[in-house]
Symmetry: C2
Subunit: 186 residues, 2 copies
Amino acid sequence: MVDAPVDARVVRTHNDVLAAAIDVLIEEGWDAVTQPRVARRAGYAKATVYSHWPDRLDLLRDAFQRFGEIPHHEPVGDVRADMLGELRSYRRAMVEHRLDRVLAILAERATEVEAAAELRDQFVDDGMAVCRSVVATVLSGVEARAASAMMGGALLHAVLLEHRIPDDEELEIVVDTVLRGFDIAR
Amino acid sequence: MVDAPVDARVVRTHNDVLAAAIDVLIEEGWDAVTQPRVARRAGYAKATVYSHWPDRLDLLRDAFQRFGEIPHHEPVGDVRADMLGELRSYRRAMVEHRLDRVLAILAERATEVEAAAELRDQFVDDGMAVCRSVVATVLSGVEARAASAMMGGALLHAVLLEHRIPDDEELEIVVDTVLRGFDIAR
DNA sequence: GATGTTATTGAACTATGAGTTCAATAACGA
DNA sequence: TCGTTATTGAACTCATAGTTCAATAACATC
């Protein structure tokens, strides 16, 4: 993030350019987020974007930041309802905010770009917080890890590899299978 | 694939260049697989690579082809042993053949490049064949789909997002949870 | 509304790498 | 040995990232 802006021009530019950066990121991927390309997309001179973000990675980091604000399910205390609710939020984020694209980009670039690995870790930590807290009420250790990976992974596998979006019925099957498989009574 | 070679030079070049292409793909990703870069890596003139693969996508397709030859688990008839065996093969392919990298690359590029989407579909179809056949002996429809996604997804989630490799214990927990969750007796 | 400040601009520039062409050379099969 | 052809390296074109800077336009403040 660049220092707190005061000038109205700076605020406007900052918003416009970041919005364009997100569009470019989602549509064309990590490598496409360069100052000249984002500037053209946003309708600004590239020198302007360079003056705000001399480092390309900072522009990328700021663009990704917005995905951290994606809403989660609010736990109500019922394990099944909370797991299902969080899975639905996860699916919603993938469809409506293109979180699937964001995760694919970060997972792919993480092996080569350190900044991508850091962003991925941060995203996964934040994104799995609710899921982990719900799972932690009934499981711990390896089992908790496995349960989270199975539920989140089922969605990830379907969307990223099978190119399909699981319906409510399938999400319920996933949750119920985990609950029964780990012998969790409500 | 270019036509069947007869000249010894062509065979040598073909092998060397494809090996280099795979290295570049794994190390730097889809966009890095260009004729000049692969040529430099393989120790050939770029004009040579262009003469073999005028189209960059053909070079990429040929490079990916080699990952289709990754060995799978041979089903023995026992559902638990077969699911576990296939999950272990999957994990092994990720670690030893960098299948994790290949899947991440394909999943990421699939939204933008049609050829990547086709390769991804082909890889997932082939790669899930054994898993699907084993699951099909005990489940069908949405449940079969969910079970495959949960098992494959658990591994995918762990490796791509959590950056960790599940141990045997965790793989067993995943399989047993699915078996118990779907009430599958052996 | 006038004024000092500064964000923005566009143009000119360098650098890098992809893709193309081709005559010369080297390696091949017969 | 000889005709064929795969390979080479060099000289291109083209697209795009990144840099610099003087001119301009928009801003906050009074």
